[in-house]
């Protein structure tokens, strides 16, 4: 299989194509940077966003175009017949070609990531721009609100964070306590609540007063909150909220490379899903039709939600009262066996579990571009099923 993978890779990842993608990505970043913005910081952020949007389009387009010609064009030009006249099973041939495409997409993601990072580092020469994109500091009490919940001996700090902030954030803090009753070596439970775009998570870490602590968190983060609880039996007296004098949330300046890597890893996964759908379509229909299908899926960006949304829509239209039931079960939510089959087949289990008690109407309605890669990347199980189905049909097709 290796020679087939290698030849497919060489065929798809041509230097001319990769360099075109790289130039286009750099152009996106610089177009973003040259768009009118109130200050250097906003301009840098705009460049980052436009660059990422460009990468979504370029990588998605590359995946769709390559995937849709992966099988159909080979059949049309007769190359498939030449190869499959050899003792090579058809499923293996498709898989090998798809393997070559996966490698090519990986290469393209790496190239685009490097170009994006390099272009951004050119823009981020100005310190204020760098601060805007690479780090944001929230220092109590100016940038946060806090509540002193005296009876339960808790202080709560909330940090409102821009939802568009991308990458890995590091929460760094130093808990400075004014109260002499807390011994320096004593550890206090610090409950951290992070609310990002996809999930909410809680963690409890033990921190020592006046010693720095660090917590890594996945972004984008909508808000972060800290609850500091005093241990039982400690006769601490918190005079006021200023007793905790310095708690800093820092979206780490050093992790920008990590954030870019994260973003492009996600784009790679998304492009894989697009490519798998395109490849599956290309084993069944002609290349232009397969390309149209892949582009449609990519542009709509709600591959994982499209089918359940339809099922939901059908269900809700027929029995609207179900939406009002908070503890609905799968049977209530998708009453017919067909609907349940559609939902189960089209949703990976973790998503399904997450979706069930959630608000059925919310998902899949609003799809801003920034969520497209995440949504498409989550659709790989469906893409895999599509690819398997295509291999099955292709193995019985006349060439």
């Amino acid at each position: 299989m290796t020679p087939l993978v290698r030849s497919a890779f060489r065929e798809i990842a041509r230097p001319r194509i990769l360099s075109t993608l790289a130039i286009a990505e750099a152009a996106f970043v610089f177009v973003g940077a040259s768009m009118p913005a109130p200050d250097a910081a906003s301009s840098a952020r705009l460049a980052e966003r436009v660059g990422l949007m460009g990468a979504v389009l370029l990588l998605g387009g590359f995946a769709a175009a390559s995937g849709s010609s992966l099988v159909a064009e080979e059949v049309r030009k007769g190359r498939a017949a030449a190869m499959l006249a050899r003792p090579v099973p058809r499923w293996r041939w498709i898989l090998a070609r798809f393997g070559g495409l996966v490698l090519a997409l990986f290469g393209a993601s790496v190239v685009l990531g490097i170009v994006h990072g390099a272009a951004m580092s050119g823009i981020l020469r100005k310190p204020e721009a760098r601060d805007a994109v690479t780090s944001r500091r929230f220092v109590t009490p100016e940038a946060s609100t806090h509540e002193d919940d005296a009876p339960t001996r808790r202080l709560r700090f909330r940090f409102p964070i821009d939802a568009q902030e991308q990458g890995i954030a590091t929460l760094r803090g130093t808990l400075r306590l004014a109260s002499p009753a807390i011994l320096p070596e004593q550890q206090l439970p610090l409950r951290v609540h992070l609310d990002d775009a996809t999930r909410q998570s809680d963690a409890t870490v033990l921190v020592r007063p006046n010693a720095p602590f660090e917590i890594d968190a996945q972004c984008p983060i909508r808000s972060a909150a800290f609850d500091v609880a005093w241990p039982e039996g400690v006769s601490a007296r918190v005079e006021d909220s200023a007793g905790i004098s310095d708690l800093v949330l820092l979206l780490d300046a050093t992790s920008r490379g990590g954030r870019v890597a994260n973003a492009f890893a996600l784009l790679f996964l998304a492009s894989l899903a697009v490519a798998a759908f395109a490849c599956a379509a290309s084993a069944l229909v002609s290349a232009p039709v397969a390309l149209a299908v892949a582009l449609l899926l990519m542009l709509l960006g709600f591959v994982p939600d499209a089918i359940p949304s339809s099922a939901r829509f059908l269900t809700l239209r027929r029995e609207p009262e179900i939406t009002q039931t908070p503890d609905r079960t799968i049977r209530e939510w998708a009453p017919t066996a067909m609907e349940r089959a559609i939902v189960v087949a089209s949703k990976p289990l973790p998503d399904l579990l997450e979706l069930w008690p959630g608000d059925a109407l919310d998902a899949g309605v609003d799809t801003p571009w920034s969520e497209i890669p995440a949504r498409v990347a989550r659709s790989w199980p469906q893409a895999g099923v599509a690819l398997l189905f295509a291999m099955l049909v292709f193995s019985r097709r006349d060439l």
């Binding site: 290796t2 020679p3 087939l4 290698r6 030849s7 060489r10 065929e11 041509r14 030009k77 007769g78 190359r79 017949a81 030449a82 190869m83 499959l84 006249a85 050899r86 003792p87 090579v88 099973p89 019985r396 006349d398 060439l399």
Partner: protein, 289 residues
């Protein structure tokens, strides 16, 4: 070399459209056998079903009726395909590859290890006169040269069965001659060779037996000698006689009860003259360099 007999019984193929409606009957009850060491030609006009027949033997199209076996294995199975070398009608390859790389790649695909694949590539490049094109990208090669590369791919691994679709199409007479020589050599070594063509000269020059197809139906099937023979007519090639001498030969024939149908100076085929000129030019080039 392993020997493999090819046997086809009542093979039919009907192409249908998306809705399952019958569109074209490409093959109708075709039957024949090809023994090892034999060159068997499928002769027919465009659209007669030659390519479909070869593809059906390789499992590239699914026959709607009949059976075919290659070396005792069901045609189209992996085991049967392992015995076959195939030259498709259109020589299309990954055009970014160089000729040598393409041959190596196909060698690895059919299961040769890297060193065996390299050795086969070198041998075939020499045998088919592809030396000067070996390091060029396929997209830079002429159609005829691409056909020769395709032919080299078909010969990889010395398969006991060769299925060749229009093997000399697009080739100059010299290259076509090289291909025919190679086919004769392989047949002598015991290979079973089926070639499809619409050029009668291909059949006359190389095939032992021929099957004439039209609209998927077998019109005739026999040895080339028997098909070309004109019963009761004898051809006599005479050298060194002037017109008077020829007149006396004619009168002898007439007095013996025969009839001279035609008497004219013997002519070479243009193909042979062309090939001879090319060969001379090539020899001169080699001497100059």
């Amino acid at each position: 070399m392993v020997q493999a007999k090819l046997s086809v019984r009542g093979l039919s193929k009907t192409y249908r459209d998306f809705w399952g409606r019958r569109r074209v009957e490409a093959l109708r009850e075709v039957s024949f056998d090809v023994e090892p060491g034999e060159i068997f030609a499928l002769l027919g006009p465009n659209g007669s079903g030659k390519t479909t027949l070869l593809k059906a033997l390789l499992g590239l199209v699914r026959p709607t009726g009949g059976t075919a076996t290659i070396g005792g294995e069901t045609a189209g199975s992996i085991a049967a395909r392992r015995l076959c070398g195939y030259l498709p009608e259109e020589s299309t390859f990954p055009m970014t590859l160089r000729a040598r790389e393409a041959i190596r790649l196909f060698g690895e695909v059919i299961g040769l290890d890297r060193s065996a694949s390299n050795a086969s590539a070198d041998r075939l490049i020499d045998a088919l006169g592809l030396g000067e094109f070996a390091e060029r990208r396929l997209r830079q090669l002429s159609r005829g040269t691409l056909r020769r590369v395709g032919f080299a791919l078909a010969l990889l691994g010395d398969p006991p069965v060769l299925l060749l679709d229009e093997p000399t199409s697009g080739m100059d007479p010299l290259a076509a001659g090289t291909v025919r020589d190679e086919l004769r050599k392989r047949a002598t070594a015991g290979a079973t060779i089926v070639l499809s063509t619409h050029l009668a000269s291909d059949v006359e020059g190389v095939a032992h037996r021929v099957l004439i197809l039209a609209h998927g139906r077998v019109l005739a099937s026999d040895s080339v000698d028997r098909l070309l023979r004109r019963d009761g007519v004898t051809q006599l090639l005479v050298e060194g006689l002037d017109a008077t001498g020829m007149a006396s030969v004619a009168s002898t024939v007439t007095s013996a009860g025969g009839r001279v149908i035609e008497g004219a100076p013997a002519r070479e085929s243009l193909d042979r003259v062309f090939a001879a000129h090319l060969r001379r030019e090539t020899t001169r080039d080699a001497a100059r360099s």
